[in-house]
């Protein structure tokens, strides 16, 4: 319990350091652009592939579990749309990014710690926490919502292709289904969740990396912890945000 409290305290102390005034905004801007590429653009491929197959599977499972003449077939499209927008594109994407981006952040910062690169920054008079972590937080906050939107589009497209190819739904019914009773707020809800998850992924992973002590073994452990803790917090906040935003 004491360890949990001290780690939580340390996390917030680190955040205070991260959000202090940057020494040179132009250098931070350049660093943020770099992180947008590394943490954002480089995740497009994996998010697109996973979303496509996720959408495809949701459509097929909905179709095979609602083989009843009472249910109109366009409900398959509606089910696919709502599942993807409400849960899969935000939460599942966040869990995938916790694995990919989170481990990347923790291992990068952790390696910098054990190879004294962070000490070098501190000696120069640079606020190392802010310089290393703030651009990553900003980059994920800016780019992850775009990844979520991409995931929604690709996921629904995947569902449409799988459904029509397998012959479980016609193209017209699917398109009617994804337009039927559409609530635009669901997109807002999904984006709000994504923003929270993006902050959790970048800050928790950075925290794990920043306080690494030891060598490569500890960097590996920090990387694993970053993924585990980020994922747990994502799931916890998913419940809280759903209750707050949809009740």
């Amino acid at each position: 319990m004491f360890r949990f409290l001290s780690q939580t305290g340390l996390y917030f102390i680190l955040l205070k350091k991260v959000f202090s005034r940057p020494e040179k905004p132009s250098v931070y801007y350049r660093q943020t652009m770099r992180e947008l590429v590394f943490l954002g653009f480089n995740s497009i491929g994996i998010i697109a592939i996973i979303s496509f197959f996720m959408g495809a599977v949701i459509t097929l499972q909905t179709a095979y579990n609602t083989e009843n003449p009472i249910y109109p077939t366009y409900l398959i499209g509606l089910g696919c749309r709502d599942s993807i927008i409400l849960e899969f594109s935000s939460t599942i994407t966040a869990l995938i990014l916790a694995g990919k981006v989170g481990s990347n952040i923790a291992s990068e910062i952790g390696t910098m710690r054990v190879t004294e690169q962070i000490d070098a920054l501190e000696i120069m008079g640079v606020n190392s926490a802010s310089y290393l972590i703030l651009p990553k937080i900003i980059a994920t906050l800016l780019f992850n919502p775009l990844l979520t939107l991409l995931s929604i589009i690709v996921g629904i497209t995947g569902g449409w292709i799988a459904g029509t190819t397998a012959g479980v739904i016609t193209s017209q019914d699917f398109i009617y289904g994804i337009q039927y009773a559409f609530i635009p707020y669901y997109i807002t809800y999904s984006i709000i969740k994504t923003l929270f998850f993006a902050f959790i992924i970048s800050s928790v992973s950075a925290f794990q990396g920043y306080f690494v002590e030891g060598g490569s073994l500890e960097v590996g452990r920090a990387s694993t912890k970053a993924v585990v803790y980020s994922s747990l917090l994502i799931l916890l906040f998913n419940v809280l945000l759903t209750q707050l935003l949809l009740s």
């Binding site: 020494e23 040179k24 910098m112 004294e116 690169q117 000490d119 070098a120 000696i123 120069m124 008079g125």
Partner: protein, 251 residues
């Protein structure tokens, strides 16, 4: 000038710095020698402020450094250059970007001027045509020289070197030593070098302090070190067979 008075530092219950007092002069290469684990690196990191000391005073000229807060320390840290044992170059930046980093961070100079300064520093440490290489593409000796170039890019008043020769062959080690000495005299820096390399001691040690188990055991010059009556120091100096044979033959 850097002065340290009655420095104490403990990690858990283990004392790693035990009442260290010493003065490091400007324009001189001041060496801190001692066995591995004797407290050299902790002393260096304490002087820089990476470790907080339990008691004692650290003076940079007439400023009491360890009483300053983080913001106030920044102004002094901008005058510090540091060469780490593993070079600590930023992996994601090229050689040119590494050396330019302090200039980017702390000067508002136009890019042409910064590039000119970068090229000057790299030329000064004999690194040519490597501006666009990444640290992973450099040899150990080149990494150290780039790290020195980065350390001197802002014309520091104080230079700290932690085991600058570790992992280098004897010839490259001599080149690095000579470079540190030349730069110290050229810019009249207060240079502190941590080492356990006796070649360095005899070549560049203007002032030498020997520490053993966290305590200062001996202080003097390279001329005095061979005739010291400190047994622990003699054990350290004459630890290798060649040095022992030489001493025997001199006797």
């Amino acid at each position: 000038m850097i002065k340290v008075d009655n420095l104490y530092k403990k990690f858990n219950e283990q004392t790693v710095l035990d009442n260290i007092s010493v003065k490091f002069d400007p324009g001189k290469t001041n060496l801190v020698i001692g066995r591995s684990g004797s407290g050299k690196t902790v002393l260096l990191k304490s002087i820089i402020g990476l470790h907080e000391v339990d008691s004692g005073e650290i003076w940079y000229d007439d400023i009491l450094f360890n009483e300053l807060d983080f913001k106030a320390r920044k102004s002094i840290r901008k005058e510090i250059g540091m060469l780490f044992q593993g070079s600590a170059l930023f992996d994601s930046l090229t050689v040119e970007q590494n050396v330019m980093f302090p200039l980017d961070m702390f000067t508002g100079k136009p890019i042409e001027e910064k590039l000119e300064r970068v090229n000057f520093c790299l030329k000064r440490v004999n690194i040519l045509n490597a501006n666009q290489l990444y640290p992973a593409e450099l040899s150990g000796g080149m990494k150290k020289r780039v790290a020195i170039a980065r350390a001197i890019s802002l014309n520091p008043k104080y230079l700290f070197c932690d085991e600058p020769n570790s992992g280098l062959d004897p010839l490259t080690a001599i080149l690095i030593d000579e470079l540190i000495k030349e730069l110290t005299e050229e810019y009249c820096m207060t240079t502190i070098v941590n080492t356990h390399d006796m070649n360095s001691v005899m070549k560049i040690g203007d002032k030498i302090m020997f520490i053993h188990e966290g305590a200062k055991c001996w202080e003097g010059s390279k001329e005095e070190i061979l005739n010291s009556d400190c047994d622990t120091l003699n054990d350290f100096i004459f630890a290798n067979a060649l040095a022992r044979q030489l001493r025997q033959s001199l006797k």
